[in-house]
Symmetry: C2
Subunit: 351 residues, 2 copies
């Protein structure tokens, strides 16, 4: 029996309205009750400012209406886009979002999947930095539904939605070649990841299909960041002054490369064309604005959220794997046209 010291409970309301706790629950949840019972319960609840205890509801109902989004670093604009879209999908359905930064630590990714067993979250959307055997094992035994944003082996019985970095990179490098570029360098991010490898595949494929032989000296690998991109570009331009374009693994690196070009009095794109990836706000920040590959971060977030909600709604459908097609958003860093609508860009996609 509750004491009078804490917030009102169904028992407090029942006593005040002169009905049972079951009637209180029925009235407040819209089940059958006589008009007189409804009136008395609603009046008592309003007078006492009764708010049902959500934890107790979760325990009895077997779900919390909370979803977890686990990603490497919320500071990365791609994940911010996903957060926004996940909330756009799930908030109207009454879900709350728990945010979990794994700090790109694989063990933390495993731990968050395992923590589903404590029942405080109804489901999980996970962006792993890479997928190991350990990932596949904990995912197979996850206590609640999981959707992975990223590539999974075909045998993995987990819903997933992924980007297509290969095609995105192909779009970018082809675009550069259509514009006459022949000495195209590549500044890759961390490459011991699926996207890192796919970018390299796309880069080399685009060169090969144009009859060019990829020169390993024109590829450098670095951590993400504006300064890191500038350093990498300086290194490339020091060693290979003839480079006429550079494709970068994200917009931060591309901005850094653009800064390096400016420092060397190279005009963009006349002397050096620059392409980024992710089409974040950073792509529109510089001058000229960056041509950038939009990998559909927000779209992936939205699809993942809808997949997860479908699973939670009792869906027992086949394992789903969707790929979001990339788009090349063309701006002045490759076209050179200067106008008042500098940041808008023209999108080129695969359809």
């Amino acid at each position: 029996m509750t004491t009078s010291g804490g917030p009102p409970t169904v028992e407090t309301i029942a006593a005040r309205a002169g009905v049972s706790i079951a009637s209180v629950s029925r009235v407040l949840n819209g089940h059958g009750a006589r008009p007189n019972t409804v009136r008395r319960v609603e009046q008592a609840a309003a007078e006492l400012g009764y708010v049902p205890n959500g934890v107790a509801r979760s325990l009895k109902g077997g779900r919390t209406r909370q979803l977890t989004f686990a990603m490497p670093d919320v500071g990365n604009p791609a994940y911010v886009s996903m957060v926004r879209q996940i909330q756009t999908v799930t908030k109207p359905l009454g879900y709350r979002l728990l945010l979990h930064s794994t700090d790109a630590v694989a063990e933390d990714e495993l731990a968050v999947v395992r923590s589903l067993a404590d029942r405080t979250s109804d489901g999980l959307i996970l962006c792993p930095i890479r997928v190991t055997d350990a990932h596949l094992e904990v995912l197979a035994r996850a206590a609640r539904p999981v959707v992975v944003i990223g590539s999974l082996p075909d045998a993995a019985a987990v819903d997933s939605v992924r980007a297509d970095s290969v095609t995105g990179t192909l779009l970018a490098v082809r675009h550069l070649m259509e514009r006459g570029r022949r000495r195209i360098a590549f500044i890759n991010g961390p490459s011991d990841t699926v996207p890192g490898r796919n970018r390299r595949i796309g880069y080399e494929t685009a060169l090969c299909e144009a009859g060019l032989v990829p020169d390993p000296a024109l590829t450098v690998t670095t951590d993400f960041g504006i300064e890191a991109g500038a350093l990498a570009a300086h290194r490339l331009l020091d060693a290979h002054p003839g480079i006429d374009a550079v494709f970068c693994a994200n917009d931060q690196l591309a901005l850094g490369a653009a800064h390096a070009a400016h420092d060397r009095d190279l005009r963009i794109p006349d002397d050096l064309a620059v392409v980024g990836m992710d089409d974040s706000e950073l792509a529109r920040a510089g001058h000229p604005a960056l041509t950038s590959v939009d990998l559909g971060s927000a779209e992936r977030g939205g699809i993942a959220a809808r997949m997860l909600v479908a699973r939670l709604d009792g869906g027992r459908h086949e394992v789903r794997c969707e790929t979001v097609a990339p788009r090349l958003v063309v701006r002045e860093s490759t076209t050179g046209a200067r106008s008042r609508s500098a940041g808008a860009g023209v999108a080129v996609g695969v359809s």
Copy 2:
């Protein structure tokens, strides 16, 4: 009695270990137990992969170890900085973070404070867009501790941490005047907010203390955004070609102003100096890099998190209100010096 269909419970472990459910709880929570009891319980728990139900723990223990962070828009880099710092403080203490975007809707802000009454969150950090009487009323009756990031009236019995937009704006405008600028325009963001008003106060104060009379025509108000900043700058420069500097309410607006200057073949900073606010990554994205006021977003997030945790640890101390001092990070958009470390900047603060 639990059925055998769901995950193992304390009762399942107790039956397997041949002890009571109380002994299971005691062993797994490190309370007194005989070695033999410990061994049998731990073995049974390990064999069955037992994970305690977090929701049941929360109900019995009266707390969830979840904190809510409510802010207008996670897409704003200032709030991303806060999220990261809040997690840095709270995650090692075992707290999970619920993220709530209010979409700058005041009624949603009120609703999230009220939702504390459902007990699913132990506390709240709230970034209101403005503080109305309704805010003060729901905050006064909040069912769990709240810390506000923003300015509150002195009479509000709520912990808070705020920026000092007045001083930050003073720093920026003084810096421009120290560099000989006399026609300083001001592109403000939404001004029906406390920060919006404080920026205007700081701008006008700085001009007055230099013996200048603020010209209302040199101040425009706009929504945030790169494109919005460019439009505002074009309007200002069309009407007042003699402007030699522009101070902007955030880095997006400042980038837009810089684009407008480039479009008009105005050199930065020779013809037009530009200063932004927030010192986000955007400030380092353009060329030249922006001088920007760092209002200490991350620091405010960290302080708010520590205030909230102190309250949750039973603290009954006086209401706290802290102000984070701003710093001016000086870069090439006002100094003009071009170098290889283009994005680093030099910080000027109040100490």
